[in-house]
Symmetry: C2
Subunit: 128 residues, 2 copies
DNA sequence: CTTCGAATTGACTTTTACGTAAATGCCGTG
DNA sequence: CACGGCATTTACGTAAAAGTCAATTCGAAG
């Protein structure tokens, strides 16, 4: 496990811009340490970036991603907070299950669409 | 099957604003007919709205949604177009499968997080 | 020491997906 | 016919998530 990653290494690995990584830092999502002015990202930051991009691909906003990442962290110490956290987690899961239904439906329709296309090709006598 | 739906009926059904529906019309995603200046949405439009919102929940942009909806329509008549269409569909499916992986991973992490919270509650001696 | 390239900062710009407000049209009811 | 209640059009506003550009600055190589 590497100790540090430079900003450009990570932009290459994840195919994002430096601007994006700095933006995520401004938003408090990652916390690279500094050597002089240079950012040094640790494996934990790298892991956070993975999670951020995952959230992004699923259509979550930065604020939502921030919330979700909070949930991955150490659970809070106070009972009220814990119960609230569990409620929030449950809400997110419901949302994700909705997304999963949406996803399955969309995939099914695309399967259908592709099949129609292939049929059409066969009608036209194209040898696949 | 109703013949027409008014704009407000649909805004209530789908919990979106009239602005949003007019925007989708501007963007050429739906095509309500007019009685005078009033929009009348047909069942096909209603179905389109379903598909649009599904895409929206999955984080697709309007342009992407437009593309995806194109795919659901009648396949094109020309061979080159058909092959291109199949390629596009395949790309979208790959993207959706990626989203599905993202989704499963996120769900798994949330399960983990919730479990931690529950454990913590038990430690604190809270009777669930 | 100079120079070069990579990194940083800050400011400004852009795109997307609507929100919002103002002015006006249409229509059924009392 | 006046009215309330939707609808419409036009226009401007805005928040999120970066892109872009200019001016520096740092550190390492020559």
């Amino acid at each position: 496990m590497r100790e540090y990653y430079s900003i450009t290494e990570l932009t290459r690995e994840f195919d994002i811009s430096t601007r994006t990584l700095r933006y995520y830092e401004d938003e408090g999502l990652v916390h690279p340490v500094r050597r002089g002015r240079t950012r040094l990202f640790r494996p934990s930051d790298r892991h956070l970036i993975r999670q951020i991009l995952r959230g992004r691909r699923l259509g979550f906003s930065i604020n939502e991603i921030r919330e979700i990442i909070q949930m991955y962290k150490e659970p809070p110490g106070e009972v009220g907070q814990l119960k609230l956290m569990i409620k929030r987690i449950e809400e997110r899961r419901a949302e994700l299950r909705q997304k999963r239904r949406d996803l399955e439906e969309t995939l099914a329709e695309l399967d259908q669409a592709e099949e129609s296309c292939v049929e059409r090709l066969v009608e036209l006598g194209v040898n696949t």
